[in-house]
């Protein structure tokens, strides 16, 4: 393990899974969470939304404690779709197929992080694939951020920008498909290698189109009214765009060595509201296009060295997925997975969402706050067995 060691808290908090609490530099034993059920007052009601309701793309239930209109507290129940993945004792290639399918929308983040952890465990020099992986992750970030902004437009009933953003999302997806032969990067990643024809990536049109939609949204007073001063949260234990929207310069592109970015400038806002998260994500779309364009000028299409020195070891990796830090820990014996752990950015984001949504918000603010975090419940319930 080049980058991590087991021990006590060291550095910022990344998140937890059912075994570990993960920090910036260390993996610590998990401290049990306090999941007390919220008691309602006599005048309040539990307002249930989900798990099977319109407007939700995953099975999740929100139990909102409300005295009417305002949200006093909220419980998020994400356990409706348990995801026990039989992966222990699989060989690496078989495990990779399963990792790719944890969250199709964020396959690149999951597989790249997993492979980086494997390469750390087996002591493989992966510098040759660093830039290609960055291009892959940034393409995924563009698509994911556009999807989150589309969700905000949908919540506001802004059908035109919503459809425009859906069109852009599809355009990006087709570029991914042309480049990697799969719309969601399936089979594109291998140990120390990314299979793709990078010459097919052309993003300048997307930059202009997105910039125009983004500016139009900024000029809409109605849209601004709905997202400004809504869902405010400022928490030192945060991650990804939500952290950067509150002024924290947290970004694995800067503070993790798993993937090496060259001179990346972090965009931050201070307010911590839905608007700030919108701004951070929008600017990161533009920044990602610039990163890709710069890297495309530098990389070649040659294949990297896939020589494997060891067949056992422990490794970790942490990269900046579109939603925040994603972390993988692997333990390999004889090229088989002996232990595997993942910390999803959705873990911290869901905690932040709970704090944000009960911070002086009413029920109609709910969707904006929820969409602004871009949470994927499927990742939360993953349990490797």
């Amino acid at each position: 393990m080049k980058y991590y060691k087991f021990g006590n808290k060291n550095g910022r908090y990344i998140g937890s899974n059912n075994k570990y609490d993960v920090y910036e530099n260390t993996i610590a034993s998990k401290i049990p969470e306090n999941n007390a059920i919220i008691e309602k007052k006599p005048y309040e009601i539990y307002f249930n939304y989900g798990p099977s309701a319109g407007g939700l793309r995953e099975s999740v239930n929100f139990s909102i404690v409300t005295p009417g209109e305002t949200i006093r507290d909220i419980t998020v129940n994400s356990h409706y779709k348990r995801r026990k993945i039989k992966i222990i004792n699989d060989d690496i290639n078989n495990a990779l197929l399963k990792i790719e399918r944890i969250n199709g929308f964020h396959t690149a983040s999951n597989t790249v992080c997993f492979l980086l952890a494997i390469e750390d465990a087996l002591d493989i020099d992966n510098t040759g694939s660093n830039d290609k992986r960055i291009i892959e992750i940034e393409l995924e970030r563009i698509r994911s951020n556009i999807d989150v902004i589309k969700g905000l437009c949908e919540s506001a009933g802004f059908s035109v920008p919503e459809k425009q953003l859906l069109y852009l999302r599809e355009k990006i997806t087709r570029i991914i498909s042309d480049t990697f032969n799969h719309r969601y990067f399936f089979s594109a990643n291998q140990i120390n290698n990314v299979c793709g024809n990078f010459n097919k990536i052309r993003l300048n049109g997307i930059y202009d189109e997105f910039y125009e939609i983004y500016n139009s949204l900024l000029e809409s007073k109605i849209f601004m009214d709905r997202i400004q001063e809504n869902g405010i949260v400022n928490d030192i234990n945060s991650s990804g765009p939500a952290a950067r929207a509150s002024g924290y310069k947290y970004d694995a592109r800067i503070d993790s060595e798993s993937l090496t970015y060259d001179n990346y400038n972090i965009y931050t806002m201070e307010e911590g509201d839905t608007f700030s998260r919108f701004m951070v994500r929008s600017n990161e779309v533009l920044a990602s296009i610039n990163i890709i364009n710069k890297l495309l000028r530098e990389i070649g299409n040659g294949k990297n060295n896939t020589e494997i020195k060891n067949n056992s070891g422990e490794g970790t990796a942490r990269i900046e997925s579109p939603q925040g830090d994603i972390f993988y820990y692997v333990n390999i014996e004889d090229n088989k997975i002996k232990d595997l752990s993942m910390v999803s950015p959705s873990y911290l984001n869901i905690e932040l969402f709970k704090k944000a949504v009960k911070n002086n918000n009413i029920l109609t603010d709910f969707f904006f706050v929820w969409e602004s975090f871009g949470i994927w419940v499927s990742e939360l319930e993953v349990d490797f067995i």
Partner: protein
């Protein structure tokens, strides 16, 4: 002569009898009330309409009390009847002395009723404090009247100061302390058993209206006093309706609704005092009595509806529907919301018409009238929301022993509809007409007009008949609607959660949080505090502090300081008296 006062004798007798035989006492009260209205009510003599209103309320509440008061001990019925007796004395009064005697006979049993039925004394003391303020001011008005006219009888006065002081006293009793909504009335009215709350809210405040109207008829027109009444009334309407909407105690809701209704009556009375056009004044006077009639009878209905639930708070009601109760409630609450076909609908229409007609007088009064009319219409909107709250959250099961109470609620509702239908018979002929060319025959239409100008019109009989015909036709075509009841979809989760009254009205708590001072305490509690009540408590606290300070610092066992104080007070009184003379 003795026959004329027979109801008074009967009711005092009923008060004594009821200590032992409360059922008999209540029946005797109902009989005395009927005789009282027969002897005193005169058509087109609008001041006597108050007698009819009071009698209807007393009959309904007495009948309701027969079953209702079973759980409240032996003292409730004599105190209830004595309060009614005091009111009857007020209505009989031809001079200030009898009026004030009646005022106190009405008030003292009321304090006792609250005191006996509440564990804390505070409600009774609050009630007593504000009521006695009104008594002091009414006595002052009586003394001034004697000074100006040389008699204590109710006679013409050429000065508006008597009306002003009397009105401020009566307002205090009506919950309309000048420029503030005070919580005392809902606290006091909400703390008594429902039958007493009903007469407190419906007829005790009516006595204030009666007194103000009586003096307004005897006083000269006064633009400034009129506008002052309108302003105080409007503030009361808006805040009364708002607080009613957010109240969780059902009887307090009724109390706030009373403030709202009394605010409207006071505004219209202000219009009466300010306007100098005789035709318009008569229309306004009719508006006052029709509105008072609608308010008093419907408010009685509201309180007996609340009493029928057997609970004090919305959260305690079992919410099982009873059709008879629902129908009665529907008419009662329609009336309080100012909706047709009920007397309240007609009364609200008349109020708005009166204000908008006055706008044609131009000048400061015209402008005030336009603004006031619009604000009253807004207040009525809030009131509708409050009444819907009562309608939805006060259902009670169909048990045998409370079936009788449902009959009374239905009777109350039907009376409001009947009074609406026959209203053209009790409104002055000048305002009654028809348009035969469109089949509205003469005598069936109420017209708001003054000078040569016509304004709005309404035909209660036609409205009722049309609603009835369309209802019957709809029923004959579609019959009883086939309703398919299905389980609620709650996202696929079993949860016995129901929408409640607090949640229903929380939107206004949040929208108007600056006014209503809605706040979370420790991120958990929501409290709404009446701003005016807080200011008053602060003032009272400051007064006590100063008194204490003076008592300890200057007058503490010091005879000389006390004597200085006495001499100073004496000189001050002499100066004031000399200035007045």
């Amino acid at each position: 002569m003795i026959l004329y006062y027979l109801p008074l004798i009967l009711i005092f007798l009923a008060a004594i009898i009821s200590y032992k035989f409360n059922k008999t006492g209540y029946i005797l009260t109902a009989i005395a009330s009927i005789i009282f209205s027969v002897f005193t009510f005169k058509i087109y003599d609008y001041i006597t309409y108050f007698y009819l209103i009071a009698a209807i309320v007393w009959v309904i509440t007495s009948l309701f009390s027969i079953t209702y008061s079973k759980n409240y001990g032996k003292w409730l019925s004599p105190l209830f009847i004595l309060t009614v007796a005091g009111m009857m004395l007020i209505l009989y009064s031809a001079n200030f002395l009898v009026f004030i005697s009646g005022w106190e006979i009405m008030s003292i049993p009321a304090y006792l009723t609250v005191a006996i039925n509440k564990k804390n004394d505070i409600e009774a003391y609050v009630f007593m404090f504000f009521s006695e303020i009104s008594t002091v001011l009414i006595i002052t008005a009586g003394v001034l009247s004697f000074y100006y006219t040389g008699t204590l009888n109710f006679v013409k006065i050429n000065n508006d100061i008597v009306l002003l002081i009397f009105a401020i006293g009566a307002m205090s009793k009506m919950g309309l302390t000048p420029f503030m909504i005070s919580e005392w009335l809902p606290i006091a009215h909400g703390s008594a058993p429902a039958n007493s709350s009903a007469i407190f809210s419906a007829t005790m405040t009516l006595m204030g209206v009666y007194g103000i109207t009586k003096l307004a008829l005897l006083s000269p027109e006064s633009l400034y006093v009129g506008i002052l009444f309108i302003v105080i009334g409007i503030i009361s309407v808006l805040f009364g309706a708002l607080y009613a909407y957010i109240s969780e105690n059902m009887k307090s809701l009724g109390g706030f609704s009373t403030i709202e209704n009394n605010g409207t009556i006071l505004s219209v009375t202000g219009l009466f005092v300010a306007v100098n056009n005789s035709i318009l004044r008569t229309f306004i006077l009719i508006t006052i009595v029709i509105y008072a009639m609608a308010h008093s009878i419907a408010k009685t209905g509201l309180f007996i509806t609340v009493g029928h639930t057997g609970s004090e708070y919305f959260s305690e009601v079992n919410n099982i529907k009873d059709n008879e109760n629902s129908l009665g409630k529907f008419f009662i609450l329609s009336s309080l919301s100012g909706l047709l076909p009920s007397l309240g609908g007609l009364a609200t229409w008349m109020v708005i018409e009166a204000f908008f007609m006055t706008a044609f007088l131009h000048g400061p009064l015209g402008v005030t009238a336009i603004i006031a009319g619009s604000l009253i219409a807004m207040g009525e909107g809030f009131a509708t929301a409050a009444m819907l709250k009562i309608f939805y959250f006060t259902n009670r099961g169909n048990k045998k022993h409370i079936k009788y109470e449902s009959h009374i609620i239905l009777l109350n509702g039907v009376i409001l509809v009947l009074l609406f239908i026959i209203s053209p018979l009790i409104i002055g002929r000048y305002y009654i007409s028809g348009i035969p060319s469109v089949l509205i025959f003469n005598g069936f239409m109420i017209e708001s007009k003054f000078s040569n100008a016509d304004f709005g019109l309404i035909s209660p009989v036609y409205i009722f008949i049309l609603i009835l015909i369309f209802t019957v036709i709809a029923y004959m075509i579609f019959r009883k609607p086939k309703i398919r009841v299905s389980e609620r979809w709650n996202g696929g989760i079993e949860n016995n959660e129901y929408y409640n009254s607090f949640v229903y009205s929380n939107n206004i708590r949040l929208i108007l949080k600056k006014i209503l001072r809605t706040k979370y305490e420790n991120n958990e509690l929501i409290q709404t505090v009446d701003l005016f009540w807080l200011v008053m408590i602060d003032l009272a606290g400051a007064y006590r502090k100063i008194s204490k300070y003076i008592a300890y610092k200057f007058m503490n066992s010091s005879i000389s300081m006390y004597l200085i104080y006495m001499i100073f007070a004496f000189v001050l009184i002499i100066i004031i008296t000399s200035v007045v003379y």
